[in-house]
Symmetry: C2
Subunit: 144 residues, 2 copies
DNA sequence: TTAAATATGCAATAAAGTTGCATTTATGTA
DNA sequence: TACATAAATGCAACTTTATTGCATATTTAA
């Protein structure tokens, strides 16, 4: 029989504090959900998981995580916006996601391939680069 | 004084025919608009330009262009979906856009950098690649 | 020229994103 | 610990974008 007990949430508190965010139940739950998941999450994923919270609250939770540099938005051409956890190297001012994102056309999941770095690119004269995103579409190892 | 006259629309007709689409005024107008524009277009761009057409018609026009391989959808993390013209090498079955997309954070325009090719990437074992997209965010030459 | 297939306009709805405001909760300080 | 202040939450409302059904109009092939 599975005994439900209080989990230690010190690590969640630390992450939120270090990003200058207040500690709330909603934020801790959402953050834990991100940490458990390998794949990126969308607003509707959160709504399905946390029916106890209003969708506006979840929307603003995502925004506060975005602004503080806990998560990053992943560009995609279809469906709702997806969000992935940032690395320690990210700060509110300067995001640092030079990893490739992969979207599986079978299961629909979007993954951060943290150890696959985006190759260098050069732009035509006069262009200033602020961020580079690379999204690979295909079939993931699990679905293949 | 500028004299308004009928333009030759044979090239539009040819493009539509070669993609197995019926020739209609709306499709010719939208296609011409794409050909004139360097930057990618969104649904709302079309709505602003072509107030004579219902937005559902424009929506379906975009879809028919997408399905037939005249345009491609450009992934982005913010704002409405953007669409860019395909090259001759694209067919309904197999799209071939290995060029980089650039989004200017100043003017908001998204451009196809047709001669900037997306670099090769390798995936972890078991992954199958179907498409690779690269989006560079920054400031374009005009806005810099 | 006409029948069949397709495109369009209108109405309606779904889904996603966003804001204002009253209430509740978290946090720093006395 | 209690309190004042600042921030988070829930609710309502609204905007934008995406989507479908159906009647009518247009295109195309025979």
């Amino acid at each position: 029989m599975y005994i439900c007990r209080m989990e230690n949430t010190d690590h969640l508190k630390e992450i939120l504090e270090s990003h200058k965010l207040r500690i709330t139940a909603c934020r801790k739950n959402v953050l834990q959900f991100f940490l458990n998941r390998k794949a990126a999450l969308s607003q509707s994923d959160l709504e399905n998981q946390f029916t106890q919270y209003d969708r506006v609250t979840l929307y603003r939770t995502l925004n506060s995580f975005l602004d503080s540099g806990i998560i990053h938005k992943i560009p995609n051409s279809q469906g709702a916006a997806a969000y992935g956890l940032c690395h320690e190297t990210c700060s509110p001012d300067h995001h640092d996601h030079n990893h490739i994102h992969f979207k599986c056309n079978q299961c629909g999941q979007i993954q951060c391939l943290d150890d696959k770095l985006v190759p260098e690119v050069t732009m035509p004269k006069g262009y200033m680069i602020e961020a580079v995103n690379m999204i690979v579409d295909g079939v993931c190892a699990k679905c293949a």
